[in-house]
Each structure stands twice: as C-alpha cells, then as structure tokens.
Amino acid sequence: MSSVASTMALPDPCELDPTIASDRNEEVEGIDSMPGLEDMIEKTESAIFQAPKENAARMSRQANLHSKSLKFAKFRGSTSDKGTWKKLRKSFIEEMRQLSKLRHPCICTVMGAVIGKSVEPMLVMEYMDHGSLNDLLKNDTIVIDGEVILPILRDISQGLRFLHSANPQVIHGGTFYQSLSITDDFSIAVLTIVSR
C-alpha cells in the first residue's frame, strides 16, 4: 500500500473556481514532494484511525484489486478561530470514523483522514483510475455503450441502496446540500460550514 502515493483531488465543485483550483494544485504539489504517505501521516498532526481487523484485511485486498495507490480527496475546512476549529476537528474525526466503517463494493472506501497544521483536512480513499463519471461522460474519445453504462448504473443504485439501508441511514446528498444556503430568490449565498 505504501508503494505509490498519488495525490488527486476529488473533482469537486471547487474545480470550477479557478482561484481555488490553483491554490489546491500548490498544496497537492507540496504533499507530493514529501517522502511518503506514512511519513507524512506521522509528521503532521494527524487523525488516522484503525479499521477493525477483519475489515482491514478486506480493505487491503480491495486496495490491491483496484490500485496500489491512494487517493486524496480534498476537504475544505475552516481555520478561523481556535474554539470552533477544535470542535470541527472533533466532529470531523468522529464522522470519518463513521464513514470508514461503511464498506461495500459500490462505495468508495474511506480509509482514513489527514488533518495537518498547514494542509487542509484530506480524505484518504481508494484510487479510481477513470476519475469521476462526469469526466468519463465529458470525454468524447470514450464510446459509452449499453454494456459499459448499465453496470455503472447498477453500481450506483446498489451503492445507494446500501447507504440508505445502513444503520444509521446515510443520505448521500444530504449533508452536502444542507450546507448550501439558498435565499428565497434562489440565488446561492456564500456557504459556511455546517455541522450536524
């Protein structure tokens, strides 16, 4: 697992904002230049939690199957004042612990999270070669026929079926859109962190 540490940010909405995107690239480069993932995790003030043993075996198998590298998904956190930062940090760790317990072949496994002093919180996830479905659909060189798309659609519905029947139930869009504040005339206001 330690072989390659690929740094790749989730194609997040922040991708659309050129200023954020450039800022993100800088940080990603910074991580890249570090000796390795393990070192980085040790050096930074980090929050890595151990998965239960039986899950760990499955996790490593899964990681080997798909790719040996890890994926970093960027997470934008607030660093405004110390009190809220501490609180957010605590709930972030708690939440990551919950998310890492969710395992299903159609769910992108969350293996851990990194909270650093200089870097913004990140998620360590499985590496997915083809990026997001959005990238795939926008790539005109890829012919997508029924034999490609049907398994993908089934995977999405199975993944969500799993999330919806999990205990406690996980709603995918849920928390993401909770943090959106939409004014009455449907213009989207600048959003702030919302914690449950």
């Binding site: 997001s132 479905l133 199975q158 989207i188 600048v190």
Partner: protein, 160 residues
C-alpha cells in the same frame, strides 16, 4: 449526488464517493444545485432517501445527454422553475434515451418525494434491463453500423 461524485475504476465499475459529509465548505456559485430535489429547494423537507433518488434521475439524464443538465441557462431561473409546482421544470431527456430508462427518469423526477421509487426498486428494474436495450444511440455508432469494409475497399472479385 451528481455525476462528479461517482468514481469509476479501471474495470469501468462505478463507486459512490463523497457521501455523508457534513462539514464541507462550498463557495458561492461553485456548487450548482441542479441535482437538488424540488422539496429541498422549497425548503419543505430535509434531505431524505427520496432526494437522492431525484439526484439519480438527473444523473441518468446526464449519462444519456453527456452534458451538464440545463446547460447554458440562468441558474436562478431554472431553480425557480424546478421548485415551482405549476411549472415543474426538469432536464430535457435526450432522444437517444431508451424507453425503459426514460420511464425510470420520469419516475425519479416526480415532484412528490413519496411517489418516487426507492433504490431497492430501481435496482431490480435495472437488473431486468439487458445491455442492448440501453445502448446510447449516438451519431457515431450509427455511422459505424452502416459503413462496411466494402465501402472503403472496393470489391474486385464478385462472389459467385
């Protein structure tokens, strides 16, 4: 949930990512909530499994159009129209969409959350469909079907 949150591995199998995150800073105008269910836009209901089903419907449209929903139109107007019960604006389903998927889209995009199918139901419906039925009929694939080797290389020897 949107197509950008579905990740695809090297075997072209999809995995759902970015689920259940409660702390996420978004900046104005970047996260366009076209995938949001109308009841959320009207602020009538909190997020539920039904709102995920709505997003899945929008993803189905994305898959077949290979474009962002409502491309090139004003976000503000569209959101207003999606939420309005008398207009019920929804993304236009492209013509290349097979009938089974078309009916699935219209079921997912129903205005009332309780009327939408669950993922359990969608799952069984998707399993019943076979791959040929959901082929995306693009112009290029149609061209490929009509062009034969004989159109490019003339046949010199007639078959008896």
């Amino acid at each position: 949930m949107k197509a950008a949150n579905i990740l695809v591995d090297r075997k072209f199998r999809a995995k759902v990512a970015d689920f259940g995150l409660s702390q996420k800073k978004q900046l104005g105008g970047t996260g366009t909530p076209f995938w949001m269910a109308p009841e959320l836009l009207r602020k009538e209901a909190a997020n539920s499994s039904a709102s995920d089903v709505f997003s899945f419907g929008v993803i189905l449209v994305e898959v077949y159009s290979r474009k962002d929903p409502y491309e090139g139109e004003s976000t503000k107007d569209i959101l207003k129209e999606i939420a309005d019960k008398s207009i019920r604006r929804r993304p236009t389903v492209p013509d290349n969409c097979p009938p089974q998927i078309r009916s699935m889209i219209s079921d997912c995009l129903v205005d009332e959350g309780e009327m939408r199918p669950t993922f359990q139901e969608l799952d069984t419906r998707l399993i019943r469909i076979d791959a040929e039925a959901v082929d995306i009929k693009t112009r290029s694939s149609r061209i490929n079907k009509t062009v034969s080797l004989f159109d490019i290389f003339p046949r010199y020897v007639d078959s008896p």
